[in-house]
């Protein structure tokens, strides 16, 4: 076990995978100087500017080039800086990366990872704060990953890089400095895609969440007069661990989905609907969702706060369900 930040865990994972497999390379804006958050710091010294490639500010071509490079046998790791900027490359991700294998009858694979950090962070305002994971979970062909801990950022990124499908990999900007134990092991330490993590067992209520909201849910569970809460970190939104969620809710009889993304049309709706379809007769309370209001994230902290899901809100929702 090694103590690493969430940021360094990802950086370590990428470096190890690049050492292991010469086909892995990274491309994006400002990677040579370490990336916008430092996730690539020092990597150019070891791997050189060809494999840690500084690109033009051309998101569509960063993504499209990665598709072409993947189709002919390399394994690109794409950096989009912010989930918001990845919207400049939606055709390349949604119409090309996600479709190429299928449309061409399985002749080609697109083993790329697109890192697109999500979440609210330091008054970043409306174009640098979004959590758009539900958009990509909606697209057949894409794997969607949202790690919540340093260990998962290490183990999931390694799995994503080894995956032969295109992976949308969404780190949370507010988690970069989070420190945790990471089982660094170049050949081990992988966290399988598609499997949730039971963060805490409980008997009255299941909270299903991911990314930054895992910490919030855990903080809520520790507040006074809160029922016994089971917390599940999905880790991967597509495919999502239906079995773990349904098993848990079957036991607790209650399900609350918490996500930082806007509640309307969010991935919480998918989970709530599935739980309702599968466990209707066993539910002790209606399934609830807690997500952001449908407003852009504002700059002023006092306004930004209106978009933020807090531990107090989660605890309050939990209390009212039991």
């Amino acid at each position: 076990m090694t103590e690493l930040t969430y940021l360094d865990a990802g950086r370590t994972a990428l470096a190890e995978e690049m050492r292991r497999d010469g086909r892995v390379w990274a491309l994006g804006e400002d990677l040579g100087r370490g990336g916008v958050f430092g996730q690539y710091r020092g990597l150019v010294d070891e791997f050189g500017p060809a494999r840690i490639a500084d690109t033009p500010i051309s998101e569509a071509t960063i993504m499209g080039a990665a598709v072409g490079a993947a189709l002919v046998g390399s394994r690109p790791v794409v950096e989009m800086r912010f989930s918001d900027f990845a919207l400049c490359a939606v055709d390349e991700l949604v119409n090309q990366a996600a479709k190429a294998r299928y449309m061409f009858g399985g002749q080609g694979r697109v083993p790329l990872v697109v890192r697109q950090p999500i979440g609210m962070w330091r008054s970043s305002a409306a174009q640098h704060s979004q959590s758009l994971e539900a958009w990509y979970a909606h697209i057949p062909g894409l794997v969607v990953v949202a790690p919540a801990t340093p260990a998962d950022n290490y183990g999931l990124l390694k799995s994503a890089i080894r995956c032969d499908d295109p992976v949308v990999y969404m780190e949370h900007k507010d988690l970069w400095p989070a420190v945790g134990h990471v089982p660094v092991d170049a050949e081990g330490g992988l966290v399988p895609l598609g499997h949730g993590r039971l963060v805490q067992a409980g008997s009255d209520l299941t909270i299903v969440t991911w990314s930054r909201m895992v910490d919030v849910a855990m903080a809520a569970a520790a507040l006074p007069d809160v029922p016994s809460i089971e917390v599940i970190d999905l880790r991967t939104l597509w495919p999502w661990d239906r079995a773990m969620v349904l098993d848990s809710v079957a036991r607790t009889g209650r399900c609350l989905v918490v996500h930082e993304a806007v509640q309307a049309g969010g991935f919480g709706g998918e989970i709530a609907a599935t739980v309702g379809e599968e466990l209707f007769g066993r539910l002790k309370a209606p399934v609830r969702r807690l997500g952001a209001p449908r407003i852009p994230v504002a700059y002023a902290p006092v306004l930004e706060e209106t978009s933020r899901i807090t531990a107090a809100q989660v605890a309050d929702a939990a209390r009212r369900m039991v």
Partner: protein, 356 residues
């Protein structure tokens, strides 16, 4: 009076490569008969395939959209003859000609148009998504300009791997108004990638005249503004396309960075096979039929001693091959419905009934 290629704003500035064209013209006196006959055969096969596809559409055997490249065969043949089997191409929605010229199998192509299990994509792609990775054809694409970054990325991977293979990227003049064109050419030049950009300038962006929606002097000037040398060519003169491309491919393969071929041509049919193209005068189309690249190639071969019978036989062979492809396609099985669930993604633990 219809615009001739020379009147069009897309005509690029003359550069050193024009000398190559002049040389090609001079060489008409002494052509490589077997090579030109090869072009004639390739173009005849493309034409026969598309005419058969057009008929099959009318007969109800094809459901989806079909974009014909009738009239543009000279570019596909003239470019692809200069590529090795292992070289890559990317294409656009009008990709039958590129695919056949790169060496793909006509039977599997027709089966794909007929949505059959034996088609290149097992019936999942259709005309707009035919690919043949065995011959380096990385896919036709339904989004205008989308093949450009993909070509650039394939070339980037080749450079990264120290592989000498190159990429030819086919797109139309309509694509130059999309961002990926600008981004892709910039990228290819910045990284000095082995890409031959081939702009098939047929004058139309779907059903709109491209010049009506294009600022500035057009494709060649845009390429050159990014430092990518442009070579203009009459795309309906397959011998000229071949000669110019040979030179450009040598430069690209030799590490000279990206090159841009601006081939002017004409789409003798509508945007799709079902488009009657009433937005252009019949006289214009009639005049352009006189510039049909296949007829020009045939005239050249006749001038060099090939008999009408020999040339007719090439055409007859192509028509017979296309007819056989149609027959095979009609006889081929439809895909099993279970195919709909294959090749989506491997990482998906959703059980049956859920997560559909």
């Amino acid at each position: 009076m219809p615009a001739s290629p020379a009147d069009r704003p897309g005509q690029p500035r003359v550069n050193a490569a024009t000398a190559t064209i002049a040389k090609a013209n001079a060489d008409r006196a002494n052509i490589d008969r077997s090579r030109v006959l090869g072009h004639y055969r390739t173009m005849a096969r493309i034409r026969a395939f598309e005419e058969a596809a057009d008929q099959a559409l009318k007969d109800g055997h094809i459901k989806g959209a079909v974009h014909l490249s009738i009239g543009q065969e000279g570019v596909a043949s003239g470019v692809c003859v200069n590529l090795d089997r292992g070289d890559f191409i990317t294409s656009n929605h009008r990709g039958h000609g590129h695919t056949l010229a790169k060496g793909a199998d006509m039977t599997a192509m027709m089966a794909e148009l007929f949505a059959r299990a034996t088609g290149y994509c097992q019936g999942k792609g259709g005309s707009m998504h035919i690919a043949d990775f065995q011959v380096g054809m990385l896919g036709a694409n339904g989004v205008v300009g989308a093949g450009i970054p993909i070509a650039v990325g394939a070339a980037h991977a080749m450079k990264l791997a120290g592989d000498r293979r190159i990429v030819a990227c086919f797109f139309g003049d309509g694509a130059i108004n999309r961002g990926p064109f600008l981004e892709g050419l910039n990228w290819a030049k910045v990284f000095d990638l082995p890409v031959l950009f081939v702009c098939e300038d047929n004058g139309f962006a779907a059903t709109t005249r491209t010049r009506a929606v294009t600022a500035g002097p057009g494709p060649g000037a845009r390429a050159e503004s990014l430092g990518v040398p442009c070579t203009p060519v009459d795309g309906n003169d397959v011998v000229a396309v071949d000669a110019v491309t040979a030179d450009l491919v040598a430069r690209v393969r030799g590490g000279g960075g990206p090159q841009f071929l601006h081939a002017t041509t004409y789409r003798l049919r509508g945007h799709t096979a079902a488009d009657a193209a009433t937005y252009r005068p019949a006289a214009e189309v009639e005049e352009r039929w006189g510039d049909d690249p296949i007829r020009r190639c045939r005239d050249l071969l006749a001038l060099h001693g090939l008999s009408a019978a020999e040339l007719d036989q090439v055409r007859a062979d192509a028509v017979a091959e296309a007819a056989a492809a149609v027959a095979d396609g009609l006889a081929a099985p439809h895909p099993d419905p279970s195919y709909a669930w294959t090749d989506v993604q491997d990482v998906d633990m959703a059980p049956a009934g859920g997560g559909r």
